[in-house]
Symmetry: C2
Subunit: 531 residues, 2 copies
């Protein structure tokens, strides 16, 4: 046989419905529970979620929705939301999770741009929905998750005798908008194939380390970058899911202990509140063994404390455009030979790529930087779960070779470990050198009495820009500028020392909890530094 | 937008070359070492293997090989063999690993049927190659791995300035023949896509649990079901590979301790020999933490001993036709609540499917059996890394719905755990009931003084068949038929008691170390049982 032939293996499409089928079949009785806002805990399992999903798919099809149509949600984390993902995807549709924390004008833009046909939402957002409704042009059906006449009635109307839609594995299955800091939000259209490969990669020990023994409490909302893909990866691994509609530390902590949570994932602020709760109660973290922190960099002190309690900490880096996992911290090959401090050093960085994606750093002249742990530049990424083109965009979002520019500034270490040094637009340029505002902030929050800190560059007659640190004090703390500078002086290069430390009651945040640098800079636009 | 659109994510083909590129880029200096037969340890790393692979691909292309052409190997486990896999696949070819333990006529049939163009082999097989050569019709180039004029010279001739062949992800990349117990060996043609999905699934904590911290010693030969896919999964995870050309217990044990082996994988007999070595030396197993046992079922006593030493034991089940992972034992959801004995019970079964494949049990009437842990029948499997059609076959090997019949007899438990009860053809049928020869053998080897045991059905005038147990005594042991029966009587159902226990010096084995039931039955074909 001299001619090229196909191999001899089976046909199997990378469709997301395989995930829910697998979970229902192989771990159908593995529990999935929701703690509602009123404290009631409702328990179902993968078979129950799958049954709901099938009825939802049937219901959406009965409403006249066609493959490719968008089903929107405005909801917190709960099992009905989870079932809706699989239901929307199951009839060939696209689940569109909407960030509940955006401003009205963004929400209206997003829903109209997405041409959502159905909106499922939590009753707590009734006021918001009523306010937006007159301006929503495409939504024909509104379904309340936690109203007996809403979701439960919609599901009960169907008999579940429905076969998943079969389509191409490059078909879209999910739409997430980036909470862009400039311009209109942009939609990222995930595919069945990209979602499946991402889910399979996430299960790995070096990523989320998920298996049948995992009990996963995702604090990261399902409306934020697909809850980092965990609703998909969790099905592949057959985890027990613990969902909570409210995310205050006492509630989360109680769930962790009572439900035996082993894995959690969320932004750093979750852990700041948790530490206060642990301090106040003297409690431990139960069976918790892996905490994944993303969204923004975790302060070193946070990482030290969690690791000191015997919990593995993983720094994740990614963005909506990368499904979102770009890198994940995990024990390195030389882990056993490292001291505690050296391990913390590793965890403070952003980790390494899972198999599938690839990184490079490009300097201002467009040259690919060496992986020397020193040369910083714009971080670029490519791979099967990285964006090619924004939804409805006229051109690709990528450069030659499919490289997508992340807007982050980073270095790559020789072993592939990535370290974010800054968002490109947040870098402070002083006398031709770059000062990392992120690094400055991370060090500053280690100072006793500092609750949160934002560093911005203020125009300077001589140095172009100089850093100014804007600080929120901890309740009861009484520190002054000199205290902060004193703390910083042995911890940063001399020329990184902020020219001023200013105190405010609170910092502006984006919908996803990051410090809104644009707003912060605007707030201090009239602040003057002297030469 | 009412029309169906493609999603917005990047193009990324599931080609195996991504694996070696990833390993070279992200863990280029992670060690790969070979202990040659003479005791010399040669060390390279993923970057070195990748460099060799690129030069090999270039060299194969320079020989005039075209995409789809087969490159055969007749070799033990070593890094040159590994590089050859990626080199053969890299020019678009198909790596064909040949089981060195087959009979001459099978080897000749296989190589001619595969139309191999090149053969790379270990010098230890020179005599074999010389013997076969006159009858090999298609092989144009012979390259000796461990001869300076062979592999090293072939690699050195190229500059490595070569781009991997790009092709369809359904193209073939590997060919493995089953050591069929009846008829001619049959070729299974793995695809790039099937191999990639299998590798990604294997990395999972519930399967081989591979990460950057893993040090993997695959005892299972690279010519046996692709060394269970580990050369691919190991690249995805970036493990340190420890290869050994010889597999005696003292050598393997020394490597385990000196190289910090964390993961090993092989047939049960490896561990029988290892236990004797541990008994003799009083040594431990170092950093070993996961032993995967497959090929045939491990006796309970073996599992207990390893688990008692703090090592996780996974029973794997699969076959060449399934790439080969069909199921894998791993801690179940309720693991923390189980006693040691209950955990051993779990591990004695064959585990559960990784995400991707699906099992069912079909009874003699063609009905799908319930997952009740009781109803046994023919085990069938389907999924992305399961065979559709044997190489050059005129028809598919699957039934309706892509189900492939494995020839094994098993039950499925309610939680999806699979338990092999027998090979369909090895089942002993007594008075209309089935007796599991595998189970009988596994219990019998727990009897003090029994080294190995094979159970066969002997025709019986009244009962159709009755079991006879053929036993190899341990060195120095002196047990008789009554001793064995006495041991069995409280451990098996009365009607399972063998009608005779016969003692032999050794049992016939297949090339892969399994008891050759066909030969054993032939050996005792004149043995008569009385009514």
């Amino acid at each position: 046989m001299g001619v090229l032939m196909l191999g001899g293996m089976q046909d199997w499409s990378l469709r997301v419905t395989h995930l829910i089928d697998h979970a229902a079949r192989e771990c159908g009785d593995r529990e999935i529970l929701t703690r509602w806002a009123d404290g009631v805990i409702e328990r179902t399992h993968w078979a129950g979620v799958a049954q709901d999903a099938r009825r939802l798919a049937q219901g959406f099809a009965a409403l006249g929705l066609k493959p490719g149509d968008r089903v929107a949600t405005l909801a917190m984390n709960h099992h009905r939301h989870l079932a809706t993902w699989y239901g929307a995807i199951g009839f060939g549709g696209v689940i569109h999770t909407i960030n509940t924390r955006l401003f009205d004008e963004d929400l209206i833009y997003i829903m109209n741009h997405a041409e959502d046909q159905v909106l499922l939402y939590d009753a707590q957002f009734q006021g918001l929905v009523d306010r937006l409704k007159p301006q929503l042009k495409t939504i024909r059906h509104f379904i309340v998750f936690d109203d007996p006449d809403g979701y439960p009635a919609f599901v009960a109307k169907q008999d579940g005798n429905y076969e998943w839609h079969q389509g191409d594995e490059r078909d879209p299955c999910m739409l997430c908008y980036t909470s862009g800091t400039t311009g209109n939000p942009k939609g990222v259209l995930y595919e069945h194939r990209s979602t499946m490969l991402h889910a399979m990669a996430e299960v790995a020990p070096g990523v989320f380390d998920l298996s049948a023994t995992s009990v996963l409490l995702p604090v990261v909302p399902m409306f934020h970058a697909a809850s980092w893909g965990l609703p998909f990866a969790g099905a592949a691994a057959g985890v027990k899911f613990v969902f909570s509609v409210t995310n205050d530390a006492p509630t989360l902590h109680k769930l962790m202990l009572e439900e035996g949570v082993t894995h959690s994932a969320g932004v750093p602020t979750v852990w700041l509140a948790m530490f206060q709760h642990l301090d106040a109660t003297g409690a431990g973290l139960g069976r918790l063994r892996l905490v994944t922190i993303g969204g923004s960099a975790a302060p070193r002190a946070m990482i030290e404390r969690l690791m000191g309690m015997g919990v593995r900490v993983s720094h994740a880096w990614g963005m909506t455009e990368t499904s979102p996992i770009g890198t994940m911290g995990a024990p390195t090959a030389n882990w056993d030979d490292l001291s505690f401090d050296e391990r913390v050093d590793v965890v403070c960085k952003q980790g390494r790529v899972p198999f599938g994606v690839e990184l490079r750093v490009v300097d201002d002249n467009g040259h690919v930087a060496p992986r020397d742990g020193k040369t910083s530049g714009r971080l670029q990424i490519r791979g099967p779960w990285v964006i090619k083109r924004y939804f409805k965009a006229a051109a690709d979002a990528t450069e030659e070779g499919q490289w997508f520019d992340t807007g982050d500034v980073s270095v790559l270490h020789p072993d592939g470990t990535m370290q974010i040094t800054d968002r490109a637009k947040d870098v402070i340029k002083s006398g031709g050198e770059w000062i990392s505002s992120v690094e400055l902030e991370n060090i500053a929050v280690g100072c006793p009495g500092v609750a949160e800190a934002g560093a911005i560059g203020i125009p300077h007659p001589k140095w172009d820009e100089r850093p100014v640190l804007v600080v929120v004090r901890k309740p009861g703390a009484n520190l002054c500028e000199a205290d902060v500078k004193d703390y910083l002086k042995d911890r940063i290069a001399k020329w990184w020392m902020p020219d001023a430390v200013l105190f405010v009651d609170e910092l502006p945040h984006t919908g996803t909890g990051k410090i809104q640098k644009v707003a912060l800079r605007a707030q201090f636009k009239d602040f003057k530094l002297e030469a």
